[in-house]
Amino acid sequence: MKTKLAVRDLHLHYGTKEVLKGINLDIPENNIVALIGPSGCGKSTLLRAMNRMHDLNPEAKVKGKILLDDDDIYAPGKDVVAVRRKIGMVFQKPNPFPKSIFDNIAYGLKIAGENDKHKLHAIVERTLRSSYLWEEVKDDLDKSALSLSGGQQQRLCIARAVAVQPEVLLMDEPCSALDPISTAKIEALMLELKKEYTIVIVTHNMQQAQRVADLTAFMYFGEVIEFAPTRQLFDAPQMELTANYLNGNFG
């Protein structure tokens, strides 16, 4: 399997505190990789490092490499906007913009310079269909995205990220604020999306990781303790720490 995203000896400091302590991770193309671990272990921090969201925080210092198709996204002079166009992100809390449903989906495309109305319409429809949201919102495209339910909002945010056709999709606990039915819909969507995209998901939900992920990485205090095919990691963990965590002995 081709490696889409490779993390190489990644260190991250917040001020003087080392949050990521030399992470190495190979994420294969068209796979879903889950990052699990107790709160504060650095999984979200790692995820946010993958599309350079830490650039906004002057406290955060990143060392090491993250290679997207063998191309370091932290290389000096690298265009961060181009990186984020290829590596999209869905956040923990649904964050639709206070705009219409249509404008939310079209936002990334307009930013990228697409102004052809027909083309925008076509892409918005296709994206909403592929997120199984079309039937629910097709008559309300001009309504505020904030009028949708939480689950719909999150699927809209996924659709919005997919609309710009990134190569990798990062998801930071996308279902933590949602009910089981919405969660099931989003998981089905993820399994559909992995045919075209590579997905990295942070989750606190062990069942979710087992349901969707091909590979799972267990993180503890800023280190990847174990990274293995999901089945193997959950059924026969090689490391004692992993076994303890999965048995609920801490965390």
Binding site: M53, L56, R85, N95, F97, P98, A112, S144, Q153
Partner: protein, 286 residues
């Protein structure tokens, strides 16, 4: 238990009393101005020049002067204030220099307006040679409103959820695109409200225009920004303290006050409408 509910009632009623007291004062002011001023309001008062040593006629040039100066203030202070606020809120790091800048701006909001007037004379009228003019007064009033506009705009921007910025960046927007297309539209209602309240305060100021451009009496309207002008607050001041027949012109003074209050009221209505129009898209999130 009983003592608690007694305290509760006592506290609530004390608060009610003070609210009513404030409303009472406000009501008295409005009633005073309206009852004594409404008698002189007619089309002649609004559209005529003062005549016979200001004992007759209207206040047309003062209305136009105030509007003209407020326009100059708007053009100067709003873009500059909003730009400064965007920089401070979105770009400036949290370091000593920027904290000093912020503190200074907040302190400037408390500087007495007469000081701004003196500053205006020194810098605009004499220093830059703009003379006693609409431009000098407009700029001076602009300086007076700037701290207010900057502070309220910064607050409005700070209230925009961080997730709007991150969401836009994650879609490949540059920082500026995220601000321009996402953060600013969400903050419009706060920015507009703050700006208009700042401007309506400027429209009613006397001290800053006193030395920088306002005239006692003019036979003509200002034709350009380099002319002097008449203004409602100053006219009111003359009619109530400097006139040779103060008692006789008292109704005219109240009439002027009423028109000035109405102008401020209209500005606030505009702010309200803009806020209302933007509210639908900013309704509470889940």
């Amino acid at each position: 238990m009983r003592q608690n509910s007694l305290q509760q009632r006592l506290g609530l009623n004390t608060l009610r009393f003070f609210v009513l007291l404030v409303l009472l004062f406000l009501g008295i002011i409005l009633w005073e101005v309206f009852s004594k001023g409404s008698g002189v309001i007619n089309s002649g008062f609004l559209f005529d020049y003062p005549r016979k040593g200001m004992t007759l006629g209207g206040i047309f040039p003062t209305i136009m002067g105030t509007i003209f100066v407020t326009l100059v203030t708007t053009i100067f202070a709003i873009p500059m204030g909003i730009a400064t606020a965007i920089y401070l809120s979105e770009y400036a790091n949290d370091n000593t220099v920027n904290r000093l800048i912020r503190a200074s701006i907040r302190n400037l909001a408390g500087v007495p307006s007469i000081i701004y007037g003196l500053f205006g004379v020194a810098v605009f009228v004499q220093g830059m040679g703009l003379g006693s003019s609409v431009l000098s007064s407009g700029l001076t009033l602009g300086l007076l409103t700037l701290p207010y506009i900057i502070t309220t705009t910064e607050e409005a921007l700070k209230n925009v959820p961080h997730s709007y910025r991150e969401g836009a960046l994650a879609l490949g927007a540059t920082k500026w695109e995220a601000i321009w297309t996402n953060v600013l539209p969400s903050a419009v209602s706060g920015i507009v409200t703050g700006s208009i309240l700042g401007l309506s305060r400027a429209a009613g100021e006397t001290a800053p225009i006193l030395f920088t451009g306002v005239a006692f009496y003019l036979r003509y309207l200002p034709a350009s920004v380099s002319d002097s002008f008449m203004a409602m607050p100053y006219h009111l001041y003359i009619l109530s303290t400097q006139h040779h027949a103060i008692e006789e012109v008292r109704p005219l003074a109240y009439g002027t006050a009423l028109v000035l209050l109405s102008l401020v009221f209209v500005l606030n209505i505009i702010a309200f409408i803009i806020r209302y129009r933007y509210r639908n898209f900013n309704k509470a999130r889940i």
